[in-house]
């Protein structure tokens, strides 16, 4: 790595300092000093602090109920975790949620039955994701700026579609997914848990999952190793699009109506969950477990602030600060544990 030495002569083989290999770190350190551990500790601390402040937090049912406000974003954050591990980023999911939900609403208003309208919405998610993927993998534009562009485009199109009015009148069987319970667990939470397990297994034990890590660690090495980098990235962007549209439908069901500004600003929440979960912003490292824990951490913190009567606008301060602190900490941990 240090090939840009000041003096090329100094880099001649005879003068190369033979460095002792560092002793392997003790196993407990490898297991414990990792970002997910920090997330877990924070989660435990936050829960204890919150339950001291308010008896509500001792009640699992209350936490599960309040989690439905954030769980849609957490579901998208799971897929975003894979995208970021692969070394890309997608800032457009919140806008994709809005556009696919508005398409759903418009299709329903046009007289299509709900299942067909949902199909339209999912198809839109696929197309939007594929468009992102096309710009990134075929035209080779940086995903950071591409997805800022499509963020504006998709939300703009949602605005064109829905104007500034909300589309409501959805049938009662469709509305209120957050009130459907399995035991004491709301359906969206169940979806989140199931998606976490599925994606965790996908990332952890399938060949594709391991290849995502390889791509994020070194894309060039991955190409030379015969990994179909572009195909996998395209797949990830499409997955992000479809997941966003599912999340959009869940919001539509929860609110009973759709507007173009649905989930506006939620890109911050999603990136925050992924970063809090210890996924490395430069790719190659991270886990679904971390994102899963971070989602609950966010639920506890956000709900805690609401219970403590902190205005939702002032909460923005904490969220922003949290995002910055979490990347700084994650980077520091990786810098310590990796050379």
């Amino acid at each position: 790595m240090n090939s840009i030495d000041k003096n090329p002569v100094a880099a001649a083989p005879s003068t190369v300092v033979v460095r002792e290999a560092a002793a392997p770190r003790p196993r407990w350190q490898v297991l414990l000093i990792r970002p997910e551990t920090v997330t877990l500790i924070l989660l435990v601390v936050a829960t204890i602090v919150a339950s001291r402040l308010s008896p509500f937090f001792a009640d699992l049912g209350f936490i599960l109920e309040s989690s439905t406000y954030y769980i849609e974003f957490a579901i998208v954050a799971l897929v975003l975790t894979l995208v970021i591990i692969s070394g890309e980023i997608d800032l457009s999911p919140a806008a994709q949620m809005a556009l696919s939900a508005c398409l759903f609403g418009t299709a329903f208003k046009a007289g299509l039955p709900i299942p067909v309208a949902m199909g339209v919405s999912l198809l839109a998610g696929l197309v939007m994701g594929a468009f992102n993927g096309f710009l990134v993998t075929v035209l080779r534009l940086p995903s950071i700026i591409v997805t800022i562009g499509t963020l504006i485009l998709y939300r703009g199109l949602a605005q064109v579609l829905a104007g500034d009015k909300s589309i409501g009148g959805l049938p009662s069987w469709f509305v209120g997914i957050d009130y459907r319970m399995v035991g004491i667990v709301p359906v969206p939470v169940l979806v989140f848990v199931a998606a976490s397990i599925a994606l965790g297994l996908f990332l952890g034990i399938t060949i594709y999952g391991r290849q995502i890590y390889q791509i994020g660690t070194s894309e060039i090495a991955a190409i030379h190793a015969g990994i179909r980098v572009r195909r996998i990235k395209m797949g990830l962007f499409i997955a992000s699009g479809i997941t966003s549209s599912i999340a959009g439908l869940m919001v539509a069901s929860r609110l009973g109506s759709v507007r173009y500004d649905l989930a506006s600003g939620a890109e911050l929440t999603m990136v925050l969950i992924v970063m809090l979960g210890g996924t490395y912003i430069f790719g190659g490292r991270g886990s679904i477990l971390g994102t899963f824990l971070a989602a609950w951490l966010l639920v506890i913190i956000a709900t805690g602030m609401t219970v403590a009567n902190i205005a939702i606008n002032a909460q923005l301060t904490v969220m922003g600060l949290l995002l910055i602190v979490s990347i700084i900490m994650t980077n520091a941990i990786y810098a310590r544990s990796q050379r």
């Binding site: 840009i4 562009g149 199109l157 605005q159 700084i328």
Partner: protein
């Protein structure tokens, strides 16, 4: 070097052609677009974007991005507005100083976090976008600065001046000119390009990347702060939940259209000015063409993507280079 210079010229010529074409086409469809009144409206719409775009241009040239300028604009406008409201006896200049300095301070924080911890600016400024917005809600107590709290002289700056062009237009173009001088003749200004062209080579040439990067973010913040005062002058109120929301995207759109490369190292003041004018013309043309204002964001998004593809094409030597998929 000369080929790069040619590229610069080609880019700006391209944007100019786009601008002229746009004006002519809209003028053909709706002749009343080609009037001095339109020019006046465009010139009034431009200063806000132009001032902030100068800062964002330098940030992009240094291979960073600043997503927090909308919140900085809001914060500075609120801070200055509160000075106007609570200390009406102080001269206007104090309000300006408060706005610009608070913007500079917030920008400085961005730069410090980005360089000190070596973090990607997009994530840091996404965080500060939220952080600063939250702070401005706390600072203002979620209360709006009402029109009657904005001093009369400030409002007049958006209307007239001794030479009959509103002050804010003069200020905006003066800022653009100063930026041009800075990035063309000042050593630090040139170093921004060096850093953006090759961040790992710049320190080997003796450039102190950290202070220069911090300076760039500070300038971007200060200019966003100035834009906050222009906002107060033009709209006559400041609302914590409205002022500057989504502004960063408009500015990034203008700058990217202006031929500033998101890969750093490439971008000019002239191109950015033309990009801002093009965006301003689009903004003004939509209602004249009878297109619903709801289209504005979709069009901005589309324009950004088109500009990115064009930028890619130019760098890869035309369409063939783009489709040959050589190199990264």
């Amino acid at each position: 070097m000369s080929s790069i210079a040619r590229l610069f010229r080609a880019r700006e010529a391209g944007i100019l052609v786009m601008l002229v074409l746009f004006v002519v086409v809209v003028g053909l469809i709706q002749p009343r677009f080609l009037s001095t009144e339109t020019l006046r409206i465009v010139l009034l719409a431009v200063p806000l974007i132009l001032v902030a775009a100068m800062g964002q241009m330098m940030v992009l040239v240094s291979r960073n991005v600043d997503l927090s300028i909308g919140s900085i604009l809001g914060f500075s406008a609120i801070a200055a507005g509160m000075v106007f409201r609570d200390y009406p006896d102080l001269p206007l200049a104090v309000g300006f100083a408060v706005g610009v300095l608070s913007g500079a301070a917030l920008g400085f924080v961005n730069g410090l976090v980005v360089t000190l911890f070596k973090l990607p600016s997009i994530i840091v400024t996404l965080g500060t976008l939220s952080l600063y917005r939250g702070l401005l809600f706390i600072l203002s107590g979620s209360k709006q600065i009402d029109p009657n709290d904005i001093p009369e002289p400030l409002i007049r700056m958006a209307q007239t001046s001794p030479i009959d062009v509103p002050w804010i237009v003069i200020i905006a173009f003066a800022v653009a000119f100063a930026t041009w001088l800075f990035v063309t003749y000042a050593q630090v200004g040139r170093q921004i390009y060096a850093i953006g062209s090759n961040p790992s080579a710049a320190p080997l040439r003796g450039i102190r990347v950290m202070p220069v990067t911090i300076l760039v973010f500070t300038l971007s913040g200060a200019l966003a702060g100035l834009a906050g005062l222009i906002y107060a002058a033009r709209f006559g109120y400041v609302n914590p939940g409205i002022t500057g929301v989504g502004f960063e995207f408009t500015v990034i759109a203008a700058v990217v259209i202006g031929g500033v490369s998101i890969n750093g190292g490439v971008g000019s003041v002239l191109g950015t000015v033309l990009g801002v004018l093009l965006l301003g013309s689009v903004q003004v043309a939509l209602p004249i063409l009878g297109v619903s204002g709801f289209w504005q964001n979709a069009i901005y998004g589309g324009i950004i993507l088109i500009a990115l593809v064009i930028d890619r094409t130019v760098r890869q030597g035309g369409l063939r280079g783009l489709l040959a998929r050589g190199g990264a």
